[in-house]
Amino acid sequence: MAAAVAAVGALTEVIRVSRAQTMMQLEKELKSASEVLKDYSDALSVASGCDLFTRFVLRASGDYPNFDECKKKLIAKGQEYVKISETSRNKIGSLAAAFIRDGMTVLIHGYSRVVMAVLARAVNDGKRFSVYVTEARPKVDDTTTGSASAAKLQEMGVPVTLVLDSAVAYIMDHIDLVFVGAEGIVENGGIINKVGTYQVSIIAKACGKPFYVAAESFKFMRLYPLNQKDIGKMTKDSKRSTDDMWSQKREIASEEEHNKIKMESPSQDYTPPRYINLLFTELGVLTPAAVSDELIKLHY
C-alpha cells in the first residue's frame, strides 16, 4: 500500500474514533493527526494525501449540514478511497502501457512502483520492448535505485540495461520514450521527483523524445515552485545521500582534507511542466495544463 493511502486510512480512522461534536473540532483533530503523520514520514505524498483528505472533509461538511450524517459519509468515503486506491496503479498501467509498442526502447529513471506497474502491464499485453534504467544516485535506500528496477525487469524477462546518470545524454539516441514516476505533482503540472529527473527531462526534450509521468492523483499538491530552491523546504537533504558520495571521496583525500570539501546532495528536484508531455493518473491521461484544472475542481 502506498504511504499516502495508508495516511488517508489513518485519518479515516481518526474520524471514526473521534469524539468531536462539531466540524471545527473534527477539523482540528485531523490537522494535528496530519502533522503527526507528516512528521513520521518525509514522503511528499503523505503530506499531499493528508492535505487532500482534509480538504475533502471541509468540502463535505458544506454538503452535509448534519454532523453525524456527515461523519458517517466521510468514514464511508475514506474507506472507499482506500479500497479504490489499490486498483489505481493498475488503471494507470493500462492507460500508459498503450503508449509502448513493439520494438521500442524505454528509458526509466531509478525505481518507481507506478512505472514498474506500467511496464508490467505492457509485458502482460505481450509487448516486446527493452528498457534502459538510470542508477538514480544517490542511493538513499535499496529500493529507490535503478538497480532495483533492473533486477525486477530482469525477473519479468524484459531486456534491461543499467546506465550511469551521466550517460543519459549518450543513450538518448536509442530511446523512444521516457517514463518516470513522481513524488509530488505541483499546481502548474510540473513534478517533484528523485533527483536527476529534471536533467533527464531536459535531455529528452532536446532530443525530441516524449517524456511521460506516471503517478497517482494523491500526489497532487498545492505548490507552485518557480525554481529548484522553492522545493528546498519540502525536501530534506538526507545524510544518507551524502554517504553515497563520501565513499568515493575517500579515495582522493585524507580524512582531514575531505572534511573541508563541501558536499551537496539534494534528494529531489523539480521538473517544470514544459518538459513533460503527458501525465498518467487514475483520473485519466492529463496534459500538464490539465493538472491545474483538476486542482481547481478540488479547491473551488
Binding site: 468515503k77 483520473l283 485519466g284 478540488l298
Partner: protein
C-alpha cells in the same frame, strides 16, 4: 440477446450498409460526410429501439453500434467522435429530464475517480424511454443543423485573422479552409499560396476554386514550401483529426509546412470543426497512420521497369502541439494546450473508450 438483435438490424439496414461499404472502399470524401452519416445512422439506430428500460441499455447499445462502425475504418476519427458526442447528448438529456444533481462532482471525482453518473444507468426510464428519445432526437436535429453550417461558422471569424495585403499559405485542399479563405476574400484583398499537397490533387482543386472566387492565388509545388515561407504572414491549414494533447493527424506533408513555419516564426493556424477533436493520444508518426496505395506516387504503368523499388505512401503526419499556434473551431479560437478542456465539454470521460 435482444440488444444483439437490435445491432444486427441496424447494421443490415441499407443506409448503414451503403455507409460501411463506402468506408471500406474509402469512397467517402472527407470527415464532414462521415460525421453526417454517423449521426443519421445513430438516429436510425435509436429510432429502432422501441422499448427502452434503462439509460444504461441505451448507452451500451449506442456504444455497440459505434464500435461496429469505428472498426470498419478506425482512422476515420470523426465516427468515434460523433458517437461520443451523441452519447454526451443522451446523458445530458437524461440528466436534464431527471434534474440529476451535479453538485460538487469535482471533489468527489478527485477522491474516488471520475464520476460517470453510473448511479443513474440502472434507473428505469419513464414512459418506456419515449420522452427521452424525443428529447434526444431534437438535440440530434440541432447537431445536424450545426453540422450543415459548420464551415461557415468557422469562416465567420476569418476577418479577425486575415487582413488586407497579407500572404497566406495553405497546404492541400480542405473544405473548411476553402470556405474560410473565400469568406475573407469577400471583403479583403490578400494573396494565397497553395502548396499542392501531392500525391493528392486537392491543392490544385483548391487553387482553382480560390482563383475563381477572385482571390489572388499562386500554386506552388511542395518542394517550394520552405523557400516561400519567408514571404508568408500566416499558414492556414485543415486537418484530419486533432488529438487530445493538442497535436494533429493531418495529411502527409503538413508536418514539413509546420516546421518551415516554425523556422520562420510564421503563425501556424489550423481550421477544424469540433467533430475532429479526439480524446485519443498520438505520440509519433506511427501511432495512427495508414499506408495507402502507392499507385498515386508511382503509377502502375511504370512499375514494370521499377519492380525492385519500394514505394511508401503514408496518409498522415503527426504534428506535435508545439508547432501549432492556434485552432479555429466552430467553438471559437483555442490554444493547443486548451484542447483537453474542450474535450471534457463535448464528451463524457466514460465514453473516451467506446468498448
Amino acid at each position: 440477446m435482444a440488444s444483439k438483435d437490435g445491432i444486427s438490424s441496424v447494421l443490415s439496414d441499407p443506409r448503414t450498409q451503403a455507409f460501411i461499404s463506402a468506408l471500406k472502399r474509402r469512397q467517402i470524401k472527407g470527415s464532414w460526410h462521415v460525421a453526417r452519416e454517423t449521426i443519421e445512422i445513430l438516429r436510425l439506430a435509436i429510432g429502432k429501439k422501441t422499448r427502452l428500460a434503462t439509460l444504461g441499455e441505451l448507452i451500451t447499445f449506442v456504444k455497440q453500434v459505434g464500435c461496429a462502425l469505428v472498426e470498419v475504418q478506425p482512422l476515420e476519427f470523426a465516427i468515434g467522435n460523433i458517437v461520443r458526442r451523441v452519447l454526451f447528448i443522451i446523458r445530458d438529456e437524461h440528466r436534464q429530464a431527471t434534474r440529476g444533481d451535479e453538485k460538487k462532482e469535482g471533489m468527489y471525482s478527485f477522491m474516488l475517480g471520475p464520476s460517470t453518473g453510473e448511479q443513474h444507468l440502472e434507473e428505469p426510464l419513464a414512459n418506456n424511454g419515449r420522452d427521452l428519445k424525443e428529447a434526444i432526437f431534437s438535440s440530434l436535429k440541432e447537431l445536424l443543423e450545426l453540422l450543415e453550417n459548420v464551415h461557415s461558422i468557422i469562416a465567420d471569424s476569418a476577418f479577425e485573422f486575415i487582413h488586407s495585403n497579407e500572404v497566406i499559405m495553405t497546404f492541400g485542399g480542405s473544405k473548411t479552409v476553402e470556405t474560410f479563405l473565400k469568406t475573407a476574400g469577400s471583403k479583403r484583398r490578400f494573396d494565397v499560396v497553395v502548396a499542392e499537397g501531392l500525391p493528392s490533387t486537392k491543392g490544385q482543386a483548391l487553387a482553382l476554386a480560390l482563383s475563381q472566387a477572385k482571390i489572388d492565388t499562386t500554386l506552388v509545388p511542395d518542394s517550394a514550401i520552405f523557400a516561400m515561407m519567408a514571404r508568408i504572414n500566416k499558414v492556414v491549414v485543415g486537418t484530419h483529426a486533432v488529438m487530445a494533447n493538442g497535436g494533429l493527424i493531418a495529411p502527409a506533408g503538413t508536418h514539413l509546412v509546420a516546421m518551415a513555419a516554425k523556422h520562420h516564426s510564421v503563425p501556424f493556424v489550423v481550421c477544424t470543426p469540433m467533430y475532429k477533436m479526439c480524446p485519443l493520444f498520438a505520440n509519433d508518426q506511427e501511432t495512427y497512420n495508414d499506408m495507402t496505395s502507392p499507385s498515386t506516387v508511382l503509377p502502375f504503368e511504370e512499375v514494370d521497369s521499377l519492380d525492385k523499388v519500394r514505394v511508401q505512401n503514408p496518409a498522415f503526419d503527426y504534428i506535435p502541439a508545439e508547432l501549432v499556434s492556434l485552432y479555429i473551431t466552430d467553438d471559437g479560437g483555442h490554444n493547443p494546450s486548451y484542447i483537453y478542456r474542450l474535450l471534457s465539454r463535448y464528451y463524457n470521460p466514460a465514453d473516451y473508450s467506446l468498448e
